[in-house]
Symmetry: C2
Subunit: 130 residues, 2 copies
DNA sequence: CCCCTGATTCGACGGCTGTCAAGGTAGACG
DNA sequence: CGTCTACCTTGACAGCCGTCGAATCAGGGG
């Protein structure tokens, strides 16, 4: 619950601070770049990035921790640590159902991040605008 | 020159390895996630992210190092270090013209990264398709 | 109630990273 | 040539980060 709130706040902060301002439109403020960097930092690890893709592409949009652990040559605690980092960055959410814990991605956050990146490409790739 | 080649190879590798495979479509391989993580890691620092936006949004699409250094309360070598990280990640390119060195972003790489992120959002936000 | 499994937290350790001061290189200008 | 400015490289150091083993927490059955 408090954990859920914290996750929600991360997303809300990102939405508020970053908004839809494209990277190439205007320079990021110190605050904006700190918020955004937190997300990129979380994605800046091969294991976490793979975890993210495993969860995102898993059937039903969610994956149990035990499914994820088997994929890597890493200890349980290490996987748990990486999942925590992703959670605290607002990229995924975790829910306990009985014995198992299921994780799913937050598509909204990924969409926001993509929005920040994309317009920079519009200088190179012509985009049809309304 | 060898430096330029190295930068080009990073981009080529990313293009080859990552391609246009969306995050939520299928799980990333260990190799793919390592390549992608390298880029996210480079963006996972507030200073570097801000440098990136400063360069991207600067008039003419390029910025001189001296323009960038003044923005931060950081020493010259530190800025130079961050620029090197961004360069080795394939996110920017540097060119010396006389006394000054000018940096500009690689929109292609940003576009590719955005492509990897975006399709995950299409599950949440309805998208109009042709 | 005790144990068994799944998952997280804790404590510790090695390696990586951001930072700076000092020194080095490249080009411009006399 | 000498020197000045712009930028980079090196070396060093503190702090962070990924990893593990051990301990701990949460449920589900005997």
């Amino acid at each position: 619950m408090s954990k859920q709130d914290a996750e929600g706040q991360v997303l809300a902060q990102l939405a508020e601070v970053v908004g839809c301002s494209p990277l190439a439109r205007e320079p990021l403020s110190a605050e904006q770049s700190s918020e955004l960097a937190r997300v990129f930092k979380a994605m800046g690890d091969p294991v976490r990035l793979r975890l993210l893709s495993l969860i995102a592409s898993h059937a039903g949009g969610e994956a149990c921790v035990c499914d994820l652990t088997d994929v890597f040559d890493l200890s349980g605690p290490t996987i748990s640590h990486h999942l925590k980092v992703l959670r605290e960055a607002g990229l995924i959410t975790g829910e306990r159902r009985g014995t198992w814990v299921y994780y799913r991605v937050r598509p909204e956050l990924l969409a926001q991040v993509a929005t920040v990146l994309e317009p920079a490409a519009s200088d190179a790739l012509p985009v049809v605008e309304a």
